[in-house]
C-alpha cells in the first residue's frame, strides 16, 4: 500500500534520512521504532508531503506521491496524527472534528462518522462544545485520532500517540488503534515506547540515525537480543 524506496532527506546540510526503504501492506500495523533524532517523524512528514525528500520514491498504491502538495495527500487516503497532537486550541471539540473532514463533501456521511468517533471516545461527545485547548492530554490525543479518522483514511500515520500520557490512557489508546486496524484501517505507528509498539504491530522497522538497521516480524524483534538491549532495556 505504501512503499518508500531509497528515500534521502535533509534539513539544510544535515542528512536525516539515508536510503530508507520500507513498506506497509494493506491491513497491517507497522511500527517504526528508534531513538530520538533517528528520523521517525521526518519519515511520516515525508509521507504527508510536508517535508520534501531529496531522493528516492514514495508510492501510495503504486502512485508516486513525493511531489504532491500536503493538502492533496489527505484526499488520497492518508491521514496523520502528528506528534504533540496539535489540536486547534481555540476551536471546539466538534469543530476540530469537522476540520478533520475538511477534504470531504457529503454532510450526511460526515455526520455518521462524527457519531462513530463519539462512540469510540464517549468523552469527546460530553465535551463537544468545549474548546480544544481546555482538554487534558489524553482527551487531546483521543481528539487528534478522532480528527484524523474523520477524513476516512485508508492509511493512518500515528506519531508518538503515547507521549506524555498516563499508562491507563496509553493502553486505552492502543486498544483503540488495534480496533481501528480490525475495522480495516492500515496503520503506520511511530513510537518511542518500543515494547508496547512491538506488542501491537505485525511488523516493525528499527531506524537508527536515518537508516533502517533492522526489520521483520514484530514478535521476532521482541526476542531479538540487539533490540532487547538497545530499545527495550532488557538483557
Amino acid at each position: 500500500m505504501l512503499d518508500l524506496s531509497g528515500v534521502h532527506s535533509a534539513y539544510g546540510p544535515i542528512e536525516v534520512l539515508k536510503d530508507v526503504t520500507l513498506a506497509v501492506r494493506e491491513g497491517e500495523i507497522v511500527a517504526l521504532i528508534g531513538a530520538n533524532g533517528a528520523g521517525k517523524t521526518t519519515t511520516l512528514m515525508a509521507v504527508s508531503a510536508i517535508h520534501k525528500i531529496k531522493a528516492g520514491e514514495i508510492l501510495f498504491n503504486g502512485r508516486s506521491i513525493a511531489d504532491a502538495a500536503p493538502h492533496e495527500i489527505v484526499r488520497l487516503g492518508i491521514s496523520q496524527v502528528p506528534e504533540g497532537r496539535r489540536i486547534f486550541p481555540r476551536m471546539s471539540v466538534e469543530e476540530n472534528l469537522e476540520m478533520g473532514a475538511y477534504a470531504r463533501n457529503s454532510d450526511l456521511e460526515i455526520r455518521k462518522d462524527l457519531e462513530h468517533v463519539f462512540q469510540l471516545f464517549p468523552i469527546l461527545k460530553e465535551r463537544r462544545r468545549q474548546l480544544g485547548g481546555t482538554l487534558s492530554g489524553g482527551e487531546q490525543q483521543m481528539l487528534a485520532i478522532g480528527r484524523a479518522l474523520m477524513a476516512r483514511p485508508k492509511l493512518l500515520l500515528l506519531d508518538e500517540p503515547s507521549l506524555g500520557l498516563a499508562p491507563k490512557i496509553v493502553s486505552q489508546i492502543f486498544s483503540v488503534i488495534k480496533n481501528l486496524n480490525a475495522e480495516g484501517v492500515t496503520i503506520l505507528l511511530v513510537e518511542q515506547n518500543a515494547f508496547a509498539a512491538l506488542k501491537l504491530a505485525h511488523r516493525a522497522y528499527v531506524l537508527e540515525t536515518g537508516r533502517v538497521v533492522l526489520s521483520g516480524e514484530a514478535a521476532g524483534l521482541l526476542t531479538n537480543p540487539q533490540v532487547r538491549k538497545s530499545y527495550l532495556g532488557i538483557n
Binding site: 502538495a69 493538502h71 502528528p82 496539535r86 486547534f88 481555540r90 476551536m91 476540520m99 480528527r147
Partner: protein, 303 residues
Amino acid sequence: MTQALVNGLTLGAVYALVALGYSMVYGILGMINFAHGEIYMLGAFHGILALAFAQHYLANFSPVVCLLGALVLAMLFCGGYGFTLERIAYRPLRHAPVLSPLISAIGMSFLLQNYVMVAQGSGIRGFPMEFGRRLTETRFSAFAGAEFSLLEVFILATSLLCMAGLHLYIYRSKMGKAMRATSQDRRMASLLGVDVDRVISATFIAGSALAAVAGVMVSMYVHAVKFNDGYIMGMKAFTAAVLGGIGNIPGAMLGGVLLGVVENIGIWFLGAGYKDAYSFIVLLLVLIVLPRGILGEQVSDKV
C-alpha cells in the same frame, strides 16, 4: 458629549472595518500588511469612479441602487487588489526573514499611492454628492441636543452588517473555519487537507473587501478622497487592531469603536487640532498597561 459619542461610533465602526483586515492577515501570516490603508483608499476611488460613471450613463437609476452598485464594485476591485498584492508581494517572501515582507508591504504602499496619484492626480477628488444627498440631508435630533444624519445611521448599519457577515463567514462557513484553523496551526491545517495558499488568498480578499466598504462610506462622509488618505486611516486602523489585541477579530471591532469614540471625545474637550494625536496617546497608554491589547493577542503557533 452625546454628539461626540454619535460621531465617535460612526467613525469607530469604520476604523473597525479597516482594522479587521490588519487583524485577519496578522492572525494567519503573522505579518502587518502595511499596504492595507492603500486598499481602503483604492476602495474610495473605485466607488467614486463607479458613481461618476453612473452619473453619466445611468442617470435614470435610483441613487440607492447606484450607491449599492458602487459599494459592490469597490469591494470586487479591492478584493482583486488584495489578492494580487499577496500573490506578487508577500507569497514569494513567505519563507523569508520576517523583515522582508514588511519592507515589501511598505514598498507596495508607496507603489499604490503613486499609482493612484499618477492616474487620478494629486488633488482631492470630490464625491458625487447627489448620490448621498438624501442621506446627508435627512437629519434626526437625539437626546441632549445631539444630532445625527441618515448617512451616519447608514455607515453604522452597513459596518455592523459587514461585521456580522464576517462573523458568520468565519464561524459557519467551511472556508471561515479553515481560516481559523490555519491561524491556529498552519501545518496541522494542511495535514487535514486545507490548501493553505487558498485560505491566505481568501483572507486577503475578505479583508480588502471590508476596507473597500469603509473607503466608499468615509469618502461620502467627508465628501472627498485623496491619494494619500490611506496612510492615516491605515495607521489609525492598525492602532485599533493593536488596541483590541492584534489577530483577535472581536478585538479589532472593539478597538475600532473605542478609538473612534476616544478621538471624538478628545475633539469635544480639547479641540480638533490634535485630533490624530488622541488615538496614539490611547495606544501608548494601552500598550503600557496591556501590551497584548484589551482582548489579548492571538498569534499562529509557530514551530
